[in-house]
């Protein structure tokens, strides 16, 4: 008798199980698989994961904050020799600056230009210090920092020379009755101002 194949399959479904597995052999595999799972229960992995996360998070936070705390103020933080060199240069700079500051005249364009140069060097030095904080023992930056001091000393020397020159000029003009150059410049400027306002 002909019948729908799907119906036959559903009716005979349980009787289709005709093959016998190697039950004991497979059970051994299941048993050892379950034993492995038992040896490392799920909670163990959860605890292990939390522990690893906590340790790595602590390490990361400590590392980050300690890195932020290490701020190199001077080259002596890197080595004693560098610290001594810097100290010597710093002292020279401050001594020369004191000397310049005490006799600084106003209104001299050459001197103003040199003072601007000094300010510029201070800005450059600050940026070098930031670079050094980030890269730590960076030789080119250290060299540039020392070079910066040398440049400052040269400019301060030039400033002292210019001050000396001006003093000498003023004295000689007083003796000869001539109006100093700076005073001429001021008169010219004032007269120029008058012509433009009129």
């Amino acid at each position: 008798m002909k019948k729908d194949l799907e119906k036959i399959l559903q009716e005979k479904r349980l009787r289709l199980d005709v093959e016998e597995p190697e039950a004991d052999l497979i059970w051994e595999g299941i048993r050892s698989g379950l034993h492995k799972k038992k040896a490392m229960p799920e909670w163990f992995w959860k605890v292990a994961a939390i522990f690893i996360f906590a340790v790595s998070a602590t390490y990361f936070i400590v590392n980050e904050t300690s890195q932020k705390k290490v701020v190199i103020v001077s080259l002596s933080d890197i080595s004693k020799d560098l610290g001594n060199q810097e100290q010597l240069l710093k002292q020279t700079v401050s001594l020369k600056w004191e000397e310049v500051e005490n006799q600084l005249p106003s209104g001299n364009s050459e001197i103003n230009f040199l003072l601007d140069e000094l300010k510029e060097l201070d800005c450059v030095y600050a940026s070098y210090q930031q670079d050094l904080n980030q890269t730590l023992n960076n030789e080119p930056v250290i060299r540039a920092m020392l070079d910066n001091y040398e440049k400052k000393i040269k400019i301060l020397n030039r400033l002292l020379m210019e001050i000396e020159k001006q003093k000498h000029y003023e004295m000689s003009s007083e003796n000869s009755g001539r109006i100093p150059y700076d005073t001429i410049e001021n008169i010219q400027f004032k007269s120029y101002e008058k012509t433009t306002t009129l």
């Binding site: 019948k3 194949l5 036959i8 005709v18 597995p21």
Partner: protein, 196 residues
């Protein structure tokens, strides 16, 4: 799908939830044959079916606490076995050949065979079906999966699953009819020989 379950099995499942090894073995003995036959029909490969059976029981016992309805253990286990078979066939990269899609009325046409066919023969012939067709036939006709579920599991469209199922039925029917015809002609020959 017929659900066979008794109080003893429910008790075994409860014990398995507590990690009782004896109960696990008893439950395994109850279901191993059925699950193995499902796996062997799906994969047509004895060693692959054994691997699937082993992995399925390890997974089932390992995750048995997730099973809320203790009476549904058999159906839940069958799903695990079927899914592992699908995973195994994915590794083989089953290819479903493009077939001309059939319309709804064609797909609902009844495929009929002689009712006298023996279960052993059906089981053997299902195993002879091409890989994709065999999986779809087992999932749909024997495991009660919907076409949409089959499509989702095998990564094919619902209409392809329907067409493949229809073709698989046609192919199985053809094979059953051939076996029946051979048997009939064999009986005739022996009958004629006896007469002679």
């Amino acid at each position: 799908m017929e659900v066979i379950f008794n109080q003893n099995e429910q008790h075994l499942v409860r014990l398995c939830k507590k990690g009782d090894a004896k109960a696990q073995y008893k439950l395994y003995k109850l279901y191993s044959k059925g699950m193995y036959n499902l796996a062997v029909r799906m994969t047509n490969n004895q060693s692959m079916a054994e691997d699937v059976l082993q992995d399925a029981f390890i997974k089932a016992f390992g995750e048995i606490n997730k099973l809320k309805n203790e009476k549904a253990f058999g159906g839940w286990l069958r799903r695990i076995v079927a899914n592992l078979c699908i995973d195994a066939s994915r590794k083989k990269k089953l290819l479903f050949t493009d077939m001309e899609s059939l319309n709804e009325s064609e797909l609902e046409e009844s495929v009929e065979v002689d009712d006298t066919v023996e279960p052993e023969q059906i089981h053997a012939l299902i195993k002879k079906l091409p890989d994709g067709a065999r999986e779809i036939l087992v999932l749909r006709a024997l495991e009660g999966y919907k076409h949409s579920e089959i499509g989702e599991q095998l990564g094919i469209s619902e209409s392809t699953a329907k067409t493949q199922f229809f073709r698989a039925k046609q192919l199985l029917a053809k094979m059953i009819n051939e076996v029946n015809d051979e048997e009939r002609s064999g009986k005739n020959i022996t009958g004629e020989a006896i007469k002679a």
